[in-house]
C-alpha cells in the first residue's frame, strides 16, 4: 500500500517545494514543516502520568506505621511487623512488595505525600470517585472532569494538540470528560500511530506533500487541518523509530504494558502532556478489598511497584526522567480496624505516591495520627486539590485556580 499512496500523492498533487511557495504559505505551516526535521521541538515540555488505583487503596498497608500500637492492635491478622517492611524511618516502612518503590525512594525519585483526603467524603465508591474526578466535591451538577478542563484550556491555546490521553482498556473515567477537546483512548500503540508501522519514508513524503501545497483560496480552517495532519505524520514516524529502541524489561502485567506505551509516547514527543492509566480496572476496583485483603493487596502493590520501577528506569536511560512526573490517585483510603472477613472497609485519608526525576523526594507531610481517627479512618491534613494544584501550576504550567474552581496552595513536591 505504501508505494501506491506515495506515488498517488506525488502524481495528483503537483509536488512543489516549500521554498518556492514560501511567500504564499502561512507561517504556521512553515514552522510546522521546519519542525518536522528536528527530533525534539524547542521547548522542553513536561508530562504528567496519573495512575488511578481503583477501589480505595489501603494506605496503612503501603506506608506501614509498623511501630504504632493502635495499628498493631486493630490490624489483627493483616498486621506487618518491623522485620517485614522496608524501613523508611523508625515510624514507617514500605510494604514488602514495594521493593522497586523503595529503591527509587532511596535515590530521591519517589515521594509519598501523606494524609491526603478532603472534608466530608461520603466514602461511597460512586460519590467519592466523582469527587476526585471532578475536583469539585459535593457538586453533583459538575459536567466536566478536572483533566477534561485542563485539556480544554490547553487546546484553547493550541488547537492542533491533543493534550491528554487515556492509555488503558477500561471505560473512560469521568475525570477525562471535557467540553470541547477530544481526549483519545489509546489501547495500544497502534491507536496512537498511523498504521501500519515501518513506513517512515511514506510519512516523510506525505508530510512534504501536505505542507507543500497551497490553496488559491485562503482557508484558515483548512490550514489548521493541514497542520494537524502534518503533525500526525511526524508523530507517527517518530513513534515508529522510537518503538524499535531498546528499553528495560517491563513486568508482564497490564500496568507494565501501559507504562511501556506511555514511555514510548514520551520518547516520541507525541505531544501529550497528561497520560491517564489505571490499576485495578473497572467496576468497584481491585483495591476494594473487603475480604481476604492480605494477598490481594500484596499482589496489586507488587504490580504497581514493579511497573513504576521499570518506567522510571526506562525514562532515565533516555535522559527523560526530569520531564516526567507520575502520581497515583484513589477515591479513599481504608479503615484502620479489620472487618471480620480479613479485609478493610472504606476509609478517608491515604497517601499519594509520586515518581519522577524532578521531585524533591522523601516523605511529605506527617503521617496521620492513629490516635485521632475520624470514624475509624485516619484524618487528612492535605487536600487532594493541593496535590492537583502542584501538578497543574508548577508542573504543567497552567492556571489551577481556573480549573479547580478555587485557589489551592500547591503542595511543595518539586525541586526548586
Amino acid at each position: 500500500m505504501t508505494q501506491t499512496r506515495r506515488q498517488f500523492l506525488r502524481a495528483t498533487l503537483q509536488a512543489s517545494t516549500l521554498v518556492s511557495l514560501a511567500p504564499l504559505v502561512p507561517s504556521l505551516i512553515c514552522r510546522t514543516a521546519l519542525a518536522a526535521g528536528s527530533r525534539h521541538p524547542g521547548d522542553d515540555r513536561t508530562a504528567l502520568v496519573v495512575i488511578q488505583l481503583s477501589g480505595g487503596n489501603d494506605g496503612l498497608n503501603c506506608v506501614v506505621p509498623y511501630a504504632d500500637d493502635t495499628y498493631a492492635r486493630l490490624r489483627t491478622t493483616l498486621r506487618l511487623t518491623a522485620s517485614q517492611v522496608h524501613r523508611i524511618d523508625d515510624r514507617v516502612g514500605f510494604h514488602p512488595e514495594m521493593k522497586e518503590c523503595r529503591r527509587l525512594f532511596d535515590e530521591g525519585l519517589f515521594s509519598v505525600v501523606q494524609g491526603v483526603g478532603y472534608p466530608k467524603s461520603s466514602r461511597q465508591h460512586p460519590d467519592a470517585e466523582r469527587d476526585w474526578q471532578t475536583a469539585r466535591p459535593g457538586d453533583t451538577h459538575c459536567p466536566t472532569g478536572w483533566i477534561g478542563r485542563y485539556a480544554d484550556e490547553a487546546s484553547d491555546r493550541d488547537p492542533r494538540l491533543a493534550p491528554a490521553a487515556m492509555v488503558s482498556t477500561i471505560s473512560k473515567p469521568f475525570g477525562l470528560t471535557s467540553e470541547r477537546t477530544i481526549i483519545p483512548a489509546i489501547r495500544s500503540l497502534r491507536d496512537a500511530a498511523i498504521t501500519p508501522a515501518s513506513h517512515a519514508a511514506e510519512h516523510a513524503e506525505a508530510i512534504r506533500l501536505i505542507t507543500g501545497t497551497a490553496a488559491n483560496d485562503p482557508n484558515p480552517m483548512l490550514d489548521l487541518v493541514r497542520a494537524s495532519t502534518a503533525t500526525a505524520h511526524q508523530v507517527a514516524r517518530r513513534i515508529e523509530t522510537t518503538s524499535h529502541a531498546p528499553n528495560t524489561t517491563y513486568p508482564n502485567s497490564k500496568l507494565g504494558a501501559h507504562l511501556r506505551d506511555i514511555a514510548t509516547l514520551v520518547r516520541a514527543d507525541a505531544g501529550f502532556r497528561l497520560f491517564y492509566t489505571d490499576l485495578g480496572g473497572d467496576g468497584f476496583g481491585g483495591f476494594d478489598n473487603h475480604a481476604f485483603q492480605k494477598d490481594h493487596h500484596a499482589s496489586l502493590l507488587r504490580e504497581l511497584s514493579d511497573a513504576i520501577g521499570a518506567f522510571i528506569d526506562d525514562l532515565r536511560r533516555d535522559g527523560l526522567a526530569e520531564r516526567v512526573a507520575l502520581m497515583t490517585v484513589s477515591e479513599f483510603g481504608r479503615t484502620v480496624t479489620e472487618n471480620g472477613r480479613h479485609g478493610t472497609d472504606h476509609g478517608a485519608a491515604a497517601p499519594v505516591f509520586l515518581a519522577g526525576g524532578a521531585l524533591k523526594g522523601g516523605l511529605i507531610g506527617k503521617h496521620p495520627e492513629l490516635g485521632d481517627l475520624d470514624k475509624d479512618a485516619p484524618s487528612h491534613h492535605t487536600d487532594f486539590r493541593q496535590v492537583y494544584a502542584a501538578m497543574l501550576d508548577t508542573w504543567l504550567g497552567c492556571d489551577s485556580a481556573h480549573i479547580l474552581g478555587e485557589r489551592f496552595d500547591p503542595v511543595d513536591v518539586f525541586k526548586a
Binding site: F8, I182, T213, T229
Partner: protein, 447 residues
Amino acid sequence: MQSTPPDSELSPDFAWAPYRPSVQAPWDTIRAGHLLRRAGAGPSLGDLRRALADGPAKTIDRIFHGESGAGAFNRQIDDYEVQGPNARPIDELRGWWLRRMIESPHPLLERMTLFWHGWFAISAARIGQPRAALDHVRMLRANAFGSFDAMLAAATRDPATLLTAEGAENFKAKANEHLGRQLLARFTVGDGAFTEADARDTARAFTGLFVRGGQLREVPREHDDGTKTILGQTGAWSDRDFARIAAAHPATARRITRALYRHIIAEDADPSDAVIDPLASAFASNRNIGQLVASMLRSNLFFSRAAYRRRIKSPVEFAVGLCRAFEKTVPTIQLGHALAELGQDLYHPPTIKGWAGGTRWINRQTMAGRINLARALFLGPGEIETRLAPGPIMAKYGDASPVAPAQRLLELLLQDNIPQATQAAGPPDDPAAIAFGIASLPEYQMA
C-alpha cells in the same frame, strides 16, 4: 470556485436572496457536491449526476421531501430497534441510527435529527434505560423540520431530556433551579438573556413533574401554581407555558439561527448580527424550522465562497459520507465504536452543551484516527469487516469516456477540487488505495 466578495462585504439582501445559476456562480459539480454534502452526509456518483442535471431548485426540493419509500424505510428500522416493550441495547441503537444515516432515502432528515440531538444533548449514560433515549431521538426525528414550538413542548416533557438536565424531581417545596437554568441557558434563550429570577420561576413552572422508571409522572399536588414572571411575561405559568414563551422569544430564535448557520453554512467565523437578523426575525415570527433551513440552503451565501469548505466534517459525516459514496453498508455497531473514539459517540454527547464541532474535531490524534479508519474501511484490517470497494462503483457508472480510476474517484469524493491537481501520470492500479489516499487528505476533511 470563483471568487465572490468576502462575507464582510456581502449585504444581507444579497446573502439571503435565492441562488440562481449564473456565469459568475455556475451550477457545476462543485456546487452540487457542496449542496449534497451539507444537506445529507455525502453524495454517490448517481446523486451528483442527477443533481447536476436537475438544477439547484429541484434538487433542494428532493432533499427536503426525501425519495419515495422514506417513510416505509424509517418505519422498518423503528421496528428493528425495539424488543417488545423495550429497546435494544444502546450500542445496537447507535448501530441502527448509523445504518439509517447510510441507507436513508431522506438524509436531510437524519442530519437535522442529529443537529437537534446535539442541541438537547441527552446522554444515554445518565438515563439508564435505552428506551427513553430511543423515544427521545424519535421525537426529534418527528419534529426535525416542523415547528420549534412543538419540538420544545415535546422535549421539555420528555423523560430523557429531564433526566439529562437533572430535572427528574421537581418538588413544590424545593423548585429545581438547576433545571430552570439549563432550560433557559441550553435549550432556549441562552446565557446572558435571562436572570436568576427567570431561572427560579421557570423551575417553579416545572414543579409537579417527575420521572419515575423512565416515564413522566405528573403529581398535581406538587405543582406550584402561583404567579411567575418568565422572560418578562407574568402569569400562573406551567411547563407548557414556559415552552410557549421561551420558543417565541427573539433570543431563542437568534441562537437557533446561529446554530443552524454553523451547521449548514459556515463554522469559521461568527456572522455579524446584520447577516443573522433577517433570518432570525423570520424564525421568531413563525418558528418554522423547515423554512429556516430552506432559506439557508437556497441562498446565495450558501453557494458562495464564504460557505464552501468552511466547515469541518464531523466523524459521522466523514464515515457515513464514505459509505454513501461507495453505496455500501458496513457493520455499524463497530462503526459506532470507531466514531466514538474519534470524538462523536451517538447518544452520548460529552456534556449538555453538545458537541463543540468545527476545529475541535481535529487534533493530531483524531487526524491519525481518521486516517486509520479510512485505511481500515478501504484496505483493512480492522474491526469493521466489510470493505468499501471502488470497483463496483466504477463498473456501475462506467460510461463511454474511459476515465482513469483516480479521476473518477476525485470526481466522486472531492469534485476534482484539489489545488494544482494534475492528471495522474501512471497512477497505482489499486483503486482502493487511491480512495484511501483521497480520504486521508486534509481537503477531504472539509465539509
